[in-house]
C-alpha cells in the first residue's frame, strides 16, 4: 500500500467506525432491564467490539488486505453475537422477561406504525413490562447489531493495516505491529465517542429514529479523521 493510499484508508476506517456506532444497539439502562439493547453505553460497546476485531485481525497480518479485513469483521461479529446471546439468557432466566423492543411497541420504529418485529413479524407490544422501554434483544436489533459489528470490524482492521504499512519501512517488525495496534486502538476510540454525543445514551440500532442523525456523524468523523490522518502521515512520511 502506498503511503498516500494509507492516509485515505485511515480516513475511511475512521468514518466506518463512526457509522457502526449507530447500528449497534446499546443502552445504559438495559442493565436494569428497562430499555432494549445491550446493557452498556454505545461508545464503550463499540470500543469493545472493535478491540476484539483488531485482535482477531492481527493474527493474519501477513496474508494481505482482504484477509485482514475479513478477520476483523468476523472477530467483531463473533463478539457481538455472543454478547447478544449472553444478554438474552441473562434477561430470560435472571430477570424473567422475554426480548421485546420498546420503540417498536410504541409504534415509533422507522418502518412505520406497526408494532411487529420487522424480520420475524412477532408482535412486540404485549411483551414489554409497563413503565419500561423494552428489554433484551429482539431479532431486528440483533441483525442491526451484526451489521454494525461487521462495519466496525472492517473499519478497525483497515486503520490497523494502513498504519502498519506506514510504519513498516521505518521501524523493526515487532515495534511496527505494536505501535500500529496502539494507534489503531486510539483512532477507534476517538471515532467511537463522537456518535455517542449524537445518540445521548441509548439507541436501538438501524430501526430506531435516531438513525436519521447518521449524516451528522459522518461529516464530523470525516473531519476529525482527516485531521488525525494528515498529522499521522506527516509524522511518518514527511518528517
Amino acid at each position: 500500500m502506498e503511503p498516500l493510499t494509507a492516509m485515505f484508508a485511515i480516513i475511511l476506517g475512521g468514518v466506518l467506525v463512526g457509522i457502526c456506532v449507530h447500528f449497534i444497539p446499546a443502552s445504559a439502562t438495559g442493565a436494569m432491564s428497562a430499555a432494549t439493547g445491550i446493557a452498556t453505553g454505545p461508545s464503550m460497546l463499540s470500543a469493545g467490539a472493535g478491540m476484539a476485531g483488531i485482535l482477531s485481525a492481527a493474527y493474519s497480518m501477513d496474508s494481505g488486505l482482504a484477509v485482514v479485513l475479513a478477520s476483523g469483521a468476523t472477530g467483531s461479529a463473533l463478539m457481538m453475537v455472543l454478547t447478544i446471546l449472553g444478554g438474552n439468557i441473562a434477561n430470560a432466566f435472571g430477570t424473567g422477561v422475554s426480548p421485546a423492543s420498546g420503540q417498536t411497541a410504541s409504534g415509533q420504529s422507522i418502518l412505520g406504525k406497526s408494532t411487529k418485529d420487522a424480520i420475524t413479524g412477532w408482535d412486540q407490544k404485549p411483551y414489554i413490562s409497563p413503565g419500561t422501554d423494552g428489554h433484551g434483544m429482539p431479532v431486528q436489533t440483533h441483525i442491526s447489531g451484526l451489521i454494525g459489528a461487521f462495519i466496525g470490524g472492517i473499519g478497525g482492521a483497515l486503520v490497523l493495516f494502513a498504519v502498519y504499512t506506514l510504519l513498516a519501512p521505518i521501524l523493526k517488525p515487532e515495534a511496527a505491529f505494536t505501535i500500529a495496534g496502539v494507534i489503531g486502538a486510539g483512532v477507534f476510540l476517538i471515532n467511537s465517542v463522537l456518535p455517542a454525543y449524537t445518540l445521548v445514551g441509548k439507541t436501538e440500532g438501524m430501526f430506531d429514529q435516531k438513525i436519521r442523525r447518521t449524516p451528522k456523524t459522518l461529516i464530523s468523523c470525516l473531519i476529525v479523521s482527516t485531521v488525525i490522518a494528515v498529522l499521522i502521515y506527516s509524522a511518518a512520511v514527511v518528517i
Binding site: G30, A31, T40, L45, T95, V97, P126, G131, M137
Partner: protein
C-alpha cells in the same frame, strides 16, 4: 499440536477471568447498576453499599490487566534465565499484586468522594461498609488481573499473536469489561438490587432507585452481592467471554482453505449462534406469554 493446546488453555483462562471479573464488579457496586445505588439516597433510602464508582467497566479492567501485564513482562525479562514457565507465573503474581494495590486505592477514594457529595441527602459514611467489602473486592480483582495476564501470555506466546503482551492485555481488558457489563450486570442490576419487586418484569423508570436496603438478615452489604450473583451472572459472563476466546482461537486451527479458513469457520459459528438466539426468543415468548398483571 501447540496451537490446539494454546486454544484449550486460553479458553479455560478466559472462562475463569469472566467469573472473577463479574464478581469483582459486583463486590463493589460498579458501572451501570451503580446509578441505582447512587439514586437511592436521593429518594430517601440510605444504604450501606460500597459505592465503587471508578469508571465504566471497560477502561477499569483495561487498567488492571495492562498494569499487571506490563509489570509481568518487565519481570519475565529479568527472570527468564531460570525457567520460562515458572518465571511467567511468578511475574504474573507480582504484576497482579501491583494492579490490586491500584484497585484498592481507586476504590477507597471513589467511595469516600461519592458519599461526601451526598450531604444534602444525609447519607452517612459507614467505615465498616467500606472495609468489610474491600478484601473481597481486592481478591476478585487480583484473580481477574492474574488470569488476564496469563491469558495474554498464552495468546502472545502459544497462539502467535504479533502484538506485544501488554497490548493484548489492554484489548482483552476492554473486551472483558464490555462483556461483563453487558451480561453479568443485568443479573445484579435487575434482580439482586430489586429483590422485593416481582420476578418477571423489568424495572420501570418510576421504581428506579427503590433498591433493597435490608437483606436476608439485617442491612444489606456489598459482601452479600457476589454470594448471589456468582451463581448465575458470573457464569454467563464466563460462558460468553470464554466461548469468544475459545472459538476465535479454534477457528485458526483449521487450514483447509489457506488463510481464509478461519473466516469461513467463524462465519459458520456466527450463523449457528444466531439461530440459537432466535430459538431462545421464541421459547421465552411461548413459555412466558404476554405481560399480565
Amino acid at each position: 499440536m501447540l496451537p490446539l493446546l494454546g486454544t484449550v488453555l486460553a479458553g479455560l483462562l478466559a472462562f475463569l477471568a469472566g467469573i472473577f471479573e463479574d464478581s469483582e464488579s459486583n463486590a463493589g457496586s460498579a458501572s451501570n447498576p451503580n446509578s441505582q445505588v447512587q439514586l437511592a439516597p436521593q429518594i430517601g433510602h440510605r444504604h450501606r453499599y460500597f459505592n465503587k464508582a471508578i469508571s465504566g467497566e471497560p477502561p477499569a479492567n483495561a487498567l488492571w490487566a495492562t498494569t499487571a501485564a506490563t509489570v509481568a513482562v518487565l519481570l519475565v525479562a529479568k527472570f527468564e534465565t531460570f525457567n520460562p514457565v515458572y518465571s511467567v507465573i511468578f511475574s504474573s503474581v507480582i504484576g497482579a499484586l501491583v494492579s490490586t494495590l491500584l484497585l484498592g486505592l481507586y476504590g477507597i477514594f471513589s467511595h469516600i468522594s461519592r458519599v461526601a457529595s451526598m450531604k444534602t441527602f444525609k447519607q452517612t459514611l459507614y467505615w465498616d461498609a467500606l472495609y468489610s467489602a474491600l478484601p473481597l473486592d481486592l481478591s476478585f480483582g487480583f484473580l481477574t488481573a492474574f488470569s488476564l495476564t496469563l491469558l495474554s501470555f498464552t495468546a502472545g506466546m502459544m497462539l502467535n499473536n504479533p502484538f506485544s503482551v501488554p497490548l493484548i492485555a489492554f484489548m482483552l481488558g476492554i473486551t472483558i469489561g464490555t462483556i461483563g457489563s453487558s451480561t453479568g450486570d443485568i443479573h445484579y442490576g435487575a434482580e439482586r438490587l430489586y429483590q422485593h419487586h416481582i420476578f418477571g418484569s423489568g424495572i420501570p423508570i418510576s421504581n428506579q432507585g427503590d433498591i433493597d436496603v435490608k437483606g436476608e438478615y439485617g442491612y444489606r452489604n456489598s459482601v452479600d452481592t457476589p454470594y448471589f450473583t456468582l451463581r448465575f451472572g458470573a457464569t454467563i459472563t464466563a460462558f460468553t467471554f470464554g466461548l469468544l476466546i475459545f472459538l476465535d482461537s479454534l477457528s485458526r486451527v483449521f487450514v483447509f482453505a489457506g488463510a481464509w479458513s478461519s473466516v469461513i469457520v467463524e462465519l459458520g459459528m456466527i450463523l449457528i449462534i444466531f439461530i440459537v438466539t432466535v430459538y431462545l426468543e421464541k421459547y421465552t415468548r411461548d413459555r412466558y406469554g404476554p405481560y399480565t398483571r
